[in-house]
Symmetry: C2
Subunit: 242 residues, 2 copies
């Protein structure tokens, strides 16, 4: 990014967005039994962090969060939940400003975007296979990392990932997992594997099936899927609970 | 409050605090079987709302919340938990500014404190009998209201109360209820009544006792309290769980 673009971007922030407030999105993706998180590598640096955004003056917090996730993943209507606001006095993008300055960019000393910023954290869960991820203006690279194998993150972003994961798991019964992350019809083992991926542990097959049906999260289709090599397999569809 | 004080307060806000960010405290008190919430009536108006505060530039969010509750209740070290940040684009103190202006105060048109404000909500649970509540600079009156019999609140403060209550109840097992709100030694019925007050519903006696002991939240003292008119009563003390 040329220095001119940075100056222009900062001027736009000043004009359009609430100062001293940012958002961070912890976007989890579930894919083939792995739980992944979307990370970006900042412009010209070997530093990874979470996608970030700002709140436009005419925009609800929730709208700003949805916009941020949409811009990073090109997915609409994803499951998105506010989980915590981070506001330690020593948190801020000052270090990022220093790094950019060391690369010769003209980073203004007094701009709030490089000072103390309170960040509202949102957690999202998307179908990683359907997402088309793109680096934002401040990033060189944007990609999925398996949660447990991610690089060390900048600022307090590792704490954000841990807290987002805890919030996701604590609210699991409210998550439209089967609706968002599976095709319209699926088998019980496919659904169980998805829950196990998000929870990071294995579940008892019988209890799982009973719970899904007791909570009326899924409904069994009348006709089983025939098979030549095994017993017919029942299919389910997501109905989302009572 | 004379107009001069308002101008001075706004200048101090500008100098000391992060702009466009406020805090609201939903302070619940449990007392004699009633769940109460602390409300204040705004300066010169018949409008009730939640205690509010701002975040000093050198202060963590958590510190600012603790300070707000301390200033309103004169209690130290209370249970305090961030539960949600409120940021609708149309939320703001503009209406409050209009009301003050109608009373002849010189409210500056462009000050952020009467514009759009994102508010971080904290929920607290205190011993209402020990609190010494005082109106802050913008309030004429500050007192406890039974939650279900409270007046209609300004802005989005009713939504804040409802969400705070839900967060409190959802996290009940983590709450140091017996430690904060009961004397050092108490009976099981006293503890049960406290939980029922916070939950707003009655609990089964046997299940309650079993759960408290299973979670190791309380410990029975060896010597029962003798009684001349009934069986001896066992006393418990809070140990806070495993």
């Amino acid at each position: 990014m040329p220095a001119k673009d940075l100056a222009q971007r900062l001027a736009e922030l000043e004009r359009d967005c609430l100062p001293h407030i940012s958002m961070n999105g912890v976007v989890f993706g579930a894919r083939t039994g792995r739980l992944e998180v979307l990370l970006m590598r900042w412009f010209g640096l070997d530093v990874w962090g979470l996608p970030a955004g700002y709140v436009r003056k005419d925009e609800d917090l929730e709208e700003a969060a949805a916009r941020m996730v949409r811009e990073q993943t090109h997915l609409e209507g994803v499951f998105l939940k506010q989980f915590r606001t981070f506001g330690r006095a020593d948190r801020g993008e000052a270090a990022f400003g220093e790094l950019l300055r060391a690369r010769g960019l003209d980073v203004p000393a007094g701009h709030w975007a490089f000072g103390r910023v309170v960040s509202v954290g949102y957690v999202a869960l998307v179908d990683a296979a359907r997402a088309r991820v793109v680096p934002d203006a401040l990033a060189d690279e944007c990609r999925w990392w398996e949660v447990g194998a991610r690089p060390r993150l900048a600022f307090d972003h590792d704490e954000m990932v841990e807290r987002a994961l805890a919030a996701l798991r604590a609210g699991l019964d409210e998550l439209p997992l089967g609706e968002t992350l599976l095709p319209g019809e699926f088998t019980m083992p496919e659904l169980q594997r998805l829950y196990e991926t998000v929870l990071g542990r294995s579940l008892d097959r019988r209890n799982f099936q009973k719970r899904m049906l007791d909570l009326a999260l899924v409904e069994r289709l009348p006709e089983p899927r025939p098979s030549r090599i095994s017993r017919p397999t029942y299919l389910y569809r997501w109905v989302g609970g009572r």
